[in-house]
Symmetry: C2
Subunit: 119 residues, 2 copies
DNA sequence: TTGACATGTGACTAATGGGTCACCTATTGT
DNA sequence: ACAATAGGTGACCCATTAGTCACATGTCAA
């Protein structure tokens, strides 16, 4: 399929999973999940690491299609792409068990919210 | 929360993602997704690797709570636990964007099914 | 155009993780 | 008890990767 979809749909599984394996990269995704479209300069402030380290991690995320970029002047803005994440989900959770698993994780989230309030 | 839920609910993020980073371990999850409750002996037949290699990978999956075990005689049976996978999903896909992303990945799966038929 | 700023590249070192093997434990059947 | 089978442990070697730095490119504003 040589469509537009290919730009959004990741094909290389291995790149995605290796990208997610590092805590720094997961934190980068968290930061973009909170506020999309941040530049390298903004993102690097959140880490102890050198600028080069953060840049290297961003490159891995981009090559895995977990993050897309758009240049704006001298800054490069970064955007989170949720599609590869969903494909991970679909690989091991079929449509029939999904509602039950979702109910469990929702319950967990609910319990953790109550814990926050009471502490 | 010191409940039964804790046995099903993974807590250590890092272990899950590092476990998923290896293609052999993902294949092991695929095999258990197809037929749950297989022993090491059965699983190792699917790989070129030595028994020790496969065992090491299974251990990583168990420590990440992606796989649970139950002894049955001299065999140890392995079961896929989908909960940590769902938690990965929930981390970066909020409830509002989920339907749209799911629609996209369903479309992708549908297109790939048609490709299989016509080839 | 010049200086300041933001991002990008290639090489290098230290640490992590995959794979194997010699050796050990536990269970089954005869 | 004994042999055969299934699973488990620790140390080891090799490949990969995280992190850093010197250096290079591209952009804005005066």
């Amino acid at each position: 399929m040589g469509h537009l979809l290919c730009q959004v749909m990741n094909l290389d599984d291995d790149a995605v999973f290796r990208a997610l394996a590092d805590p720094t990269r997961r934190r980068l995704l968290d930061l973009l999940f909170m506020r999309n479209g941040q530049s390298l300069g903004e993102l690097k402030e959140e880490f102890e690491m050198s600028r080069f380290g953060v840049m290297k991690h961003l490159k891995v995320l981009v090559e895995a299609d977990l993050v897309t970029t758009r240049r704006s002047g001298r800054a490069t803005l970064h955007f989170l792409n949720p599609v590869p994440i969903r494909l991970v989900h679909d690989r091991w959770i079929d449509k029939y068990t999904e509602p039950r698993v979702a109910a469990l994780t929702d319950l967990k989230a609910s319990l953790e919210r109550h814990e926050e309030q009471s502490s």
